[in-house]
Amino acid sequence: MKSNKTVEEINKKIRQGDAVVITAEEVSKMALTLSPEEIINEVDVVTTATFGPMCSSGAFLNFGHSDPPIRMEEISLNNVPASGGLAAVDTFIGATETAKDDPYYGGAHVIYDLIDGKDVLLKARAKGTDCYPRKEIDTYINKKEINEMILFNPRNAYQNYPAATNTTSSTKYTYMGILLPGLGNVTYSTSGELSPLLNDPELRTIGIGTKILLGGAEGFVAWNGTQFNTVRPKNKFGIPTINAATLAVIGNMKDMSTEFIRPAVYEKYGVSIFVGIGIPIPLLNKDIVRTVSIRNEQIETTICDYGRNGHPALGKTNYQQLQSGYIELGGERIQTAPLSSLYKARIIAEDLKNRIQRKKFFLTEPVQLFPKNTSLNGLKIRGKDYE
């Protein structure tokens, strides 16, 4: 048996119905008793998945032209503001944008309602031009009527994320959930050993152009995600121990399912969106087998104090401990809870596995690999830089 395979060879096996596909959780279990060599002889593809709140998400929409036409400048959808700066009838609606009259309804809900086939109220104003004379429009749109609805999420699927706690004496309402005072709880948000970028920590198989499952439909990795950071500290298993790489993803929202895109509202924080993503990893060589075999106890993350400015680090833990329901920190036992759904992530990983086995989903090689040695800039508050 060859211990190196190509994506083309794996696709041929998929076409013949011979490809062996298992989930990242299954391969981690398998690796306890089998060597990477034995695994690569048996398995061709490993499926990974995540279903969690991912704020940096949104949708491009094209409404089509009315008669007489309008060059929309001030746009709202179900009273949620959308971008008016994108030609005449294109817009981008951000998931975290909030309705003018309802803090519990936002861009994420508009996206959900559109996927659900509901009518959404479109209002727009314009100054009126010779070629676009209409100054106002007030109508309903839905999935069937509009030309395009494209989900484009600039930053999804974080490779690891800090676990959050709160050392202060007051409850903190954060995007990491409600953090009780005095180290009252710890929350975390990844699917651990099932999470896409934790199974490909060096980003060897996932890159620009990789075909994925996004919101229950086929989508693509469009680019490296924003705040893409490859120079974070890594543990001895090569896993960054804090949030690192990210993905920008794109897909046809008309094909998506409300099972895998759900609006979320976090108390005293605001609107976000649950996004379901599944990514296949081809087992091309033994080294990739080693990376997909990573287990929860080997994936560490940093515990950060979200009660204090700058979220100072308090220590480290791993996903086996976090998933057990409690961790120990400074001799104290603290209750833990996830914010991303392992239950849903498993459904996505199984769905992707079934699609590949039923010859409905083929693997892609990245068109281009992600950049290396990228780090982050903070935002300086400063005056204009005169020369």
């Binding site: 959930g177 998933q323 996830p338």
Partner: protein, 136 residues
């Protein structure tokens, strides 16, 4: 047997030493989990009553004679589980483990018997799927 009830007091009943009577006359182990008095002096109390079923029945009929409304607790907390995504955010604030995802499927399981109606899950659920009726 031990059961949780919500007791609703009209203004006329707020000053009755009801808990004393439950203990002294009916031999009930009373655990007050939550109690509030609203403007106009109507009151509401979440209690766990522990006694044999005959005593419990007698006690409830005593409360009803005092014009106190006795509502079995499970009818007051509601989770729309069919819409749940099993994220687990509610379990972060549930100190009695009435809400838990610590099972093989990582599925949210709600055990109303363990709930003390603190109401934190209502705020913690990003899908707003909990309803707690503990008000007038």
């Amino acid at each position: 047997m031990s059961k949780k009830y919500i007791l609703k007091f009209r203004p006329s009943a707020v000053e009755e030493p009801v808990t004393y009577c439950l203990i002294k006359e009916y031999d009930i182990r009373v655990n007050i989990l939550r109690a509030e008095i609203y403007p106009g002096k109507s009151g509401i109390m979440l209690v766990e009553l522990d006694a044999n079923s005959i005593k419990l029945k007698q006690a409830i009929s005593f409360l009803q004679h005092k014009d106190i409304e006795v509502i079995p607790f499970e009818k007051r907390i509601h989770l729309e589980i069919e819409k749940c995504v099993h994220c687990g955010a509610c379990t972060a604030v549930c100190c009695t483990s009435a809400l838990s995802i610590l099972n093989e499927k990582s599925e949210l399981v709600f055990t109303p018997d363990k709930c003390v109606a603190c109401g934190l899950c209502v705020k913690a659920c990003p899908l707003q799927l909990f309803q707690l009726q503990f008000e007038e």
